[in-house]
Symmetry: C2
Subunit: 170 residues, 2 copies
């Protein structure tokens, strides 16, 4: 069992980006999990992760940053009650429950911000650990988009749309 | 039967916006079909429809603008081979096959631009005419997002994710 009780999750500060950067860079450059252009510059990734979302958080343990996630509105107008999040755990911290801790935190934060549901638009089928975790956290696979993601090694692979109604409380 | 043979579809010009504006305004303000903030200013709607997409088109017949659509990349990175379109027909031109003509045109244009698939992210369940048309054009309902759209009269209603593989040729 992993003890995640001493993981603290807090809003990201501007200066956190420099610490997060190697992790963000490696995950985005790999191009196998996020529908983000792997060639984006550091400044564009900073804007995408730290500035454009409604809020960005970091997971911290003993002063070390283990991961980060963003929370944003998934669609506008009639879809504005649904939010979207993206989570990245540093390579050194994988398998320690950081992603689960961030996912739970994000659901709580989303409810607090007034969102009623959370949607993941493009969960790459090869990202089996993420899929298992989101399912365990109560997200349903609403649909599978055939060949919707070009994986750098596996070629065209399906991507899932996953969704959870957050309902009341928290 | 509707004769759509004399509908011409061409790239929108800057000055078309003023003609399209009443139609765009009415559809977006109604808030019952597009996940776009109904309160957006005219300038924001101009940017959203005319400037931010990869391309914007108008459907024209005898010099009259009957409708418009945009075409853009739906996701980045590994998802960049999937495009997204939005179509709006002027109230006076509904039932004349304009949406179908625009949808067919968009598939051809998308292929020409190198896209391999087209995805609609939020087809509101009450928009039955659109659903029937996209199905008839070969789009599959990949998933139904429960209560994902707040309809101004019907309340929370489902929204569909629809997808079509464009494959080769045109």
């Amino acid at each position: 069992m992993t003890d995640t009780s001493d993981i603290t999750i807090r809003l990201a500060r501007t200066e956190d980006f420099d610490v997060l950067w190697p992790t963000l860079r490696d995950v985005i450059r790999a191009g196998d999990t996020y529908a983000i252009d792997p060639q984006l510059s550091q400044d564009r990734i900073r804007a995408l992760w730290m500035e454009e979302p409604r809020a960005t958080y970091v997971a911290e343990q003993d002063g070390e940053l283990l991961g980060t996630y963003y929370l944003k509105t998934n669609a506008q107008g009639g879809g504005a009650h649904v939010c979207n999040c993206g989570y990245i755990t540093s390579a050194a911290a994988r398998g320690r429950g950081v992603a689960r801790a961030m996912c739970r935190h994000s659901q709580h934060e989303a409810r607090g911000l007034g969102y009623l549901a959370m949607q993941f638009n493009c969960v790459v089928e090869t990202n089996t650990r993420a899929i298992a975790l989101w399912e365990d956290e109560g997200f349903a696979t609403v649909g599978v988009l055939p060949d919707a993601f070009l994986h750098p090694e596996a070629g065209y692979v399906p991507a899932r749309v996953m969704f959870k109604w957050l309902g009341q409380g928290g």
